[in-house]
Structure formats: C-alpha cells, structure tokens
Symmetry: C2
Subunit: 190 residues, 2 copies
C-alpha cells in the first residue's frame, strides 16, 4: 500500500534496529481519515473471503478492526483483553502472548460468548512482529471451533519472523507494508 509506506517514511521514526514508531497516526494519535484507507485496503485484500467476525487485541488493534468492519459488511468486532476485569467472571478463552514493545507477557482473554463454532474469523492488528499476538488469537479461535480466515497487519516487520512463522503454519497473511530492515534511522521496505 504505497500511501502507507509514504506515511511511514514521512511521519514514522526508526529507533535502533527493531522499532518503528508510528504513534502520530496509528497507535497513540490516530488519523481517522487514513484509517478508512486502511479499512478499504484490508477489504480489498480479503474480498474473496466470507468473514463472520473480526478479532483483534487491545489497545491499538481496536481502531484498525473498527475501521475495517464497515468495508466488509459490518461483522462483529471483538477485541481480546489483556487482563480479566471484574465484570468478566464467566467462561473465557485465554492464551499468552509476549509483547515486544512492552517487554512483558500478556494473558489475552476473550469471552466464550464472542467466539463461535464454525465461524470464519479475520485477525487484524496494527503490527506483526514476532507473531505472538496473532498466534495467541488464532489459538483461541481454534479452541472455539472457528476457523482463521486470514491475518491482516498494517505493518509487518518481516525481519522479526512472525509473518513467515504464521505462513508456515498455513495461515494467509496480508500486510499492508512490509519492513525488511531498520538501520541507522532508515526504514527499508521489502
């Protein structure tokens, strides 16, 4: 997605060899107009699929998922929570995911009510790095008896291997921008 690559180069910041900071339009400040372009692009990439539900993870996945839903027929959007709030006492699916950015392991939780047997579920997220979050979401979808329709990421950091790992497992992965390397403040796309 050329618009996105341009925006990453113009507004993003490369930090060290691992981090690209896009908090000016994607995951702290959000450009809601650009979000519609992202939503349209995901809809186009996955247009051959029947999608019953979108699954993402709080917090920065929420805008992506909610911004995409209108372009694929408004399926229910569900976001995995990172801890069980005290209003969530009944059954839930859970899986663990390491957060690269925060350096922590999160316990991801989705209420059993919001993942159903036989559904085709599209996983969406802002970043795809080591693939830990997508793997955890896929695990919960499978536990529920659903099927992973595909995995969409706005920015794939290809060099961290998550996308390849997911593709090797047979998942269809669509990333709107693929970063091959980050070096000396320069971002190189695939």
């Amino acid at each position: 997605m050329e618009d996105l690559k341009k925006k990453i180069l113009e507004e993003g910041t490369a930090i060290g060899k691992d981090i690209v900071k896009v908090d000016g339009f994607l995951n702290h400040q959000i450009d809601a107009r650009f979000l519609e372009k992202i939503g349209r692009e995901f809809a186009s990439r996955f247009r051959d699929l029947k999608i019953d539900r979108i699954l993402t993870v709080e917090a920065s996945g929420i805008a992506i998922a909610v911004g995409t839903a209108p372009f694929i027929g408004y399926p229910p959007v569900v976001f995995a929570k990172k801890a069980a709030p005290n209003t969530m006492k009944e059954g839930f699916y859970e899986a663990q995911a390491k957060s690269f950015t925060k350096g922590t392991v999160s316990r991801l939780i989705v209420s059993e009510k919001y993942l159903n047997e036989g559904e085709n579920v599209l996983i969406l997220d802002d970043f795809l790095a080591y693939g830990e979050a997508s793997m955890a979401l896929a695990e919960m979808i499978i536990k529920s008896g659903g099927k992973v329709a595909g995995i969409g990421a706005v920015i794939e950091k290809s060099f961290q291997g998550g996308a390849d790992k997911l593709r090797e497992k047979g998942y269809r992965v669509e990333s709107l921008a693929q970063i091959e390397k980050i070096e000396d403040g320069v971002i190189t796309f695939k």
Copy 2:
C-alpha cells in the same frame, strides 16, 4: 438516545447495584454499525463547537472516539495510554485515574506532541461513572494549554456522581444514556 437505551435494556446485563455490562456491543464485542449511530449522535450534541481534537483513554474509549471522528470533520484522535511503553521515552503529560471496573489506579499518559496549546479538545469515553478518567484527561488538556470543549459519554451512571462533579467544575457533559439506578437486575434510566 432511545436506540441506545433499548439496546442497553435488551443486550446489557445489570450486576449488583453498580455494574451494567454492555460487552456485547460496546466494550468487548463492538457493533460497528451501531457505533456510527453513536458517532452521529455525539456530532449532533456538540455541533455548535469547533473541535480540534478528540481525547479518550484506552482501551474501550478508542472505538467511540474513532467512530465519532468522521462525523465531526476527522479531527485527530488521541488515546491516553495506561502505562508508558518502551517506545515512549520523550515528554508526556500524566495524570492518575482510579478504575472502578478493575479496582486499580491507572497512570494515564499522553505524549506532549499530541496535545497543543490553544486547542479545543473533546473528551469521549464509553462510561462516565465516578468521573475519574475524564477528570484526568481534562487535567492533561489544561496542562497542555488547551481547553476542554466538552465531555461525551455513551453511558452515564448518574448515581455514581461523576457527571455532576464534572458539571460543577463547569464542564459541558453530554451522555447518550443516563442510568439513575441499578437494582435487582433492573436498569432505570433518568
């Protein structure tokens, strides 16, 4: 907003005297079509204001803010984070807010880059209970030299006093549904 009250009664669950659970359409599973109605309603309530920016707090405020932005001219949406990730090392505003649902005190953080002097900032959130989150967001807006244009909540739990407290401080508060009490599993609107 009559549609919303109906949806709360039909799909929400009252727990004890304090909690109304709306995780079927608002803060775990999200109904993206209904979100557009919410966005349109906020736009209508605040149509007399010039809004430069929307400020909310992760995680469940994000969908509300992103869903409202298109109806008020796509101002930048910013969400306060509940802890500083390791990509956020430069200056930020911070304020504390007690979370009623999780029984914890959160440290809310917004990068200094995304709140500016002289801006009119609209605060949006899913719930307005004790008003702790809105108060913290307002504090950060004021520190940045901006002005609180108004505070919008999808669901106000009036009996917990936050809305009154904010109105006494001179803020304009618009709640799309106002709950007067929760008792024996019955939700009563104002």
